[in-house]
Subunit: 577 residues, 2 copies
């Protein structure tokens, strides 16, 4: 694969594009386009942007991803969590509905795009690993709750603000007396209908005799049916005159050329939100892409994915969009509908462009409550608190991280929640390494293998202490080992030799080296031998650059068994040199 095709995968798959693939991609594109029209409008609403922004964000970004991305099925565009994060970030710098708000959303997309691109070029896809699985699961669940709650205002036809659960609920309760009853009936009706479509329609249709495949298609058309029905109701009864909020006029035309703001102040304020959006968007996207690729034994290149998503976001920034990423629902639909190559995405973009030019007048009477209902039903499928139970059973540290992520996301907002989750996970990991497990080991009879004396039936030798240190030695735990050894020595005055079994020591940093030197010196003063066994190659290499091995009063043994053989035979007291 040449350098160019590595960075522009379209040159690879495009060369062997077949007629079969074309027809499959076209069918998938039609299905995804129909699904994306209401979804794009709805997510724009969630992001606090005019509805057309959602459509625009699905056109050029999809095309750019089709050129630069590696996933065959990923559908890029506005997604729920990133839309919520956009609203939280841009809400800090501008009022919803102003020009400044839309421009700030463009700047956010640009920043995010440049970050993703830079991470891709510098092959920094690994940063996504800093979000642990439980933190992501907790964050997505809490975001789902926040999003659903934030949409209730449209269901009731009131105004409400806030980026935290209590903020939103408080604001909602305050305005509830102004609720519009007709809006509420429409909104609640659409919500119930969509829940039923999701949970019961498929079985109902199959009981009526429809094939499973047809029933599936009908289920996916549910949101479109809700959109059509409520639009017709509002139009037919003139309900917009009765206070039902509608989408209204949406400009007809292709995505406009737009210019994000480059104000240094604005970019500085949006820097951290953009970073979080980039990393979370990337994690969501890559998870979907890898899941789908694994089903067809295809490979995803995470660094190239960063480049694809980066290009998509930069595209969004200059064509009236806002931050985008690979969405779960739309990608699964695309995959299920038979998409074979990223060309399906390109055809979807064309379909949406046609919709933007020709169909926007049709959504004039579409009630916002219906869009809110589609969001609520979609995001509640993201809500899954089972991660709490699963981590509780496995590891309290993971449980703590996920609980903090959920509570802080709900209580302080998305940015605080996910940042706290990452930092807490790291802090807990460091804390665990600060008090390492140290096992006193003995020989498993009949083998050359050494195990914890408290867990296995093993042979020990009087006067000889073998300690297996289950952690790398570094500044955070350097003092711990020193305290532990001398506390152990104080309890057993007959000890002559100490062997540190280093099979689990993957690193010894400068602080730990100084600590080992201090241990060696104190043991030497007490006439006790200090020996090392099973020191790994990289650790030995580094120790050789110092005088520690010269000062060591004992020896370094290749294996613990060798050390044991020599030292258990040596019953004479160690002589201080």
């Amino acid at each position: 694969m040449s350098r160019l095709t590595r960075y522009v995968p379209v040159l690879d798959w495009g060369r062997s594009y077949s007629r079969d693939a074309l027809s499959n991609d076209l069918i998938a594109a039609v299905i995804v386009t129909i699904m994306l029209i209401p979804q794009s409008l709805a997510y724009a609403l969630l992001a606090g942007l005019p509805p057309e922004a959602g459509i625009y964000a699905s056109i050029i970004p999809i095309l750019l991803y089709a050129i630069f991305g590696t996933s065959r099925a990923l559908a890029v565009g506005p997604v729920a969590v990133v839309s919520l994060m956009t609203a939280a970030a841009v809400g800090q710098v501008a009022e919803q509905g102003t020009m400044g708000y839309a421009v700030a959303a463009l700047s956010l997309a640009l920043l995010s795009g440049v970050m993703l691109l830079a991470m891709g070029v510098f092959r920094m896809g690994f940063v996504a690993n800093f979000l642990s699985h439980p933190v992501i699961a907790g964050f997505i669940t809490a975001s789902g709750v926040l999003i659903a709650t934030s949409q209730l205002k449209h269901i009731f036809g009131v105004t409400a603000h806030g980026h935290t659960l209590f903020g939103i609920i408080g604001s909602l309760l305050k305005h509830l007396p102004d609720a519009n009853p007709i809006t509420a009936i429409l909104g609640a009706g659409a919500t119930v209908f969509l829940f039923w479509v999701r949970k019961g329609l498929r079985q109902f249709l199959m009981r009526l005799g429809l094939s499973a495949k047809l029933a599936d298609v009908a289920t996916k058309a549910g949101p479109v049916a809700a959109v059509l029905a409520t639009t017709l109701i509002v139009w037919g009864f003139g309900l917009d005159a009765n206070g039902v909020a509608i989408v209204g006029e949406v400009p007809q035309g292709l995505p406009p050329l737009t210019m994000p703001s480059f104000s240094p102040d604005l970019l500085a304020t949006l820097f951290l939100p953009a970073l979080l959006i980039s990393v979370i968007g990337f994690v969501e996207s890559i998870s979907v892409a890898q899941t789908l690729a694994a089903k067809k034994r295809q490979r995803i290149d995470p660094d190239q994915e960063l480049i694809g998503l980066g290009a998509a976001n930069i595209g969004a920034a200059f064509t009236g969009g806002y931050p985008v990423t690979g969405g779960f629902a739309r990608s699964v639909v695309n995959f299920d509908a038979g998409a074979e190559t990223p060309a399906a995405g390109a055809f979807t973009a064309i379909g949406l462009a046609i919709a933007a030019v020709a169909l926007t007048p049709l959504v004039y009477f579409l009630p916002k409550a219906t869009l809110a209902a589609t969001i609520i039903v979609a995001v509640l499928s993201l809500v899954d608190f089972s991660i709490l139970k699963r981590t509780w059973n496995y590891s309290r540290a993971d449980f703590l991280a996920v609980t903090a992520t959920i509570l802080l996301t709900l209580g302080l907002g998305v940015e605080a929640g996910v940042s706290a989750g990452v930092l807490l996970s790291l802090a807990l990991h460091v804390y665990k390494t600060s008090r390492p497990h140290v096992a006193e080991v003995g020989l498993v009879p009949g083998t050359q293998h050494f195990r914890n004396i408290n867990r296995h039936k093993v042979e020990t030798c009087p006067g000889l202490l073998s300690l297996r240190i289950d952690e790398s030695l570094y500044f955070v735990n350097a003092r711990f080992l020193e305290d532990l050894i001398f506390e152990r020595l104080a309890r057993d005055k007959t000890l002559r030799n100490v062997i540190l079994m280093c099979s689990a020591i993957n690193e010894i940093d400068y602080s730990a080296l100084e600590s080992l030197e201090a241990i060696n010196q104190r043991l030497t003063e007490q006439g006790i031998g200090l020996h090392l066994s099973e020191v790994k190659g990289p650790v030995t290499d580094r120790l050789r650059t110092t005088h520690f091995l010269d000062h060591l009063n004992g020896k370094v043994y290749l294996s613990q068994y060798e050390a044991w053989q020599q030292l258990s035979a040596d019953q004479t007291r160690f002589d201080v040199a």
Copy 2:
């Protein structure tokens, strides 16, 4: 030892206090008192406080430490680095010389005292370990440079401000034209004299025939001699009228009862500086205490030391002082002078109280330039850039941490410097664990021991891949292992079994568990066996709470040798269950 004597060590050593100990303690106290009078005034000057604050900070805090501390030789009071940090912290909230400034210093001492006490009661002495040795060394060196530079203004008799190296030098250069020549001559003379006292006087006196002991005493009296000489010169020639800045009137009397401010805003602003001062003061103090205790085979209890230092700082807050800790120079002098118990500290406090009541008029004509000279000469002994060379040779990560600490301390100030050092050390450690060393291992002939095939002559078996993973598996590196295994499998299509040798895996968190499940599933699909060997007790315990071991397509072996024996014999292709 009862609970009470654990928390109040004076009840332990006080009971067996002997006449010999009394006379040794008294002698040490006299020597330390003489040394502390100019030092206390000088450090108060460095902290931006009136000179008497330095004396006050040495009286009640010493008494409280004598009751609650565990070190027999530690001398508590103002020290250079903490004085500098106090100036940086309090300078953010008030102007030097104002009442608010002195009150904020009291609040800082109170906050720091409460934090230390809380850390002691909750046995959190381990937090000190987060400061790695190189970071401390770099921080102390950079602080020494900052302190020395900050005192040049007094040597030249000008005003200058700033908490960073460039800030101080810039301000100094701007005001240098206003320098007072007489002050400069006095200051430079005192500095040169004190350097000579430190470097050459001892040898000079011994060449004159003095005993080593007497020469030592004379060397220590150097600062007192400089104080006396310059005070007499200023008084004799009336130089204060010629613009030489003098200490002036210092209130005569015992430490006053003072009340720190409890303003929530102030306490919030001072919170982080107080935490840094607490931790750094504790690290400095405990290092000195442990070094001195080791020489006499005494034991220091870090958690009780926190309580002792906490009590001392709270004492300082209510008696006109500012944050204190155990100082290196004064403790060594105390130790060398023969102090046997904390009573020496109590006698020093009495000596200083007498000085505060009776001797303050004597320092009226003491030039501030002389105090600055004593600080400069004292702190330059802290400056030691050799840590750069030592860490460079041993570990680039440690080198990076110490370099960042030094540069940021000099460039942005003490708080930014030490915080960056700690965070960078942790980040580098986490980064290292994100790309763990993984060794392919084989059997060392004639043993049951397995080593890296690239470093040792070992036996391998076709179709069998043994990987030793040299790191705990957790979210940061969970994906890494998956990529590595499948990249390795892609290169060798003949593989039938993979053994993960887990001797260096100290933890498997929830994310890594999910990753292992994914690896197991993909290997199962490809008809390749996945086996684990040498899984540690705590890791096994945790895996047993999940279904992973049931799903695992291969086995868990006690030792790598056992796994090797079984699987190298089994030449049949693994059967998918």
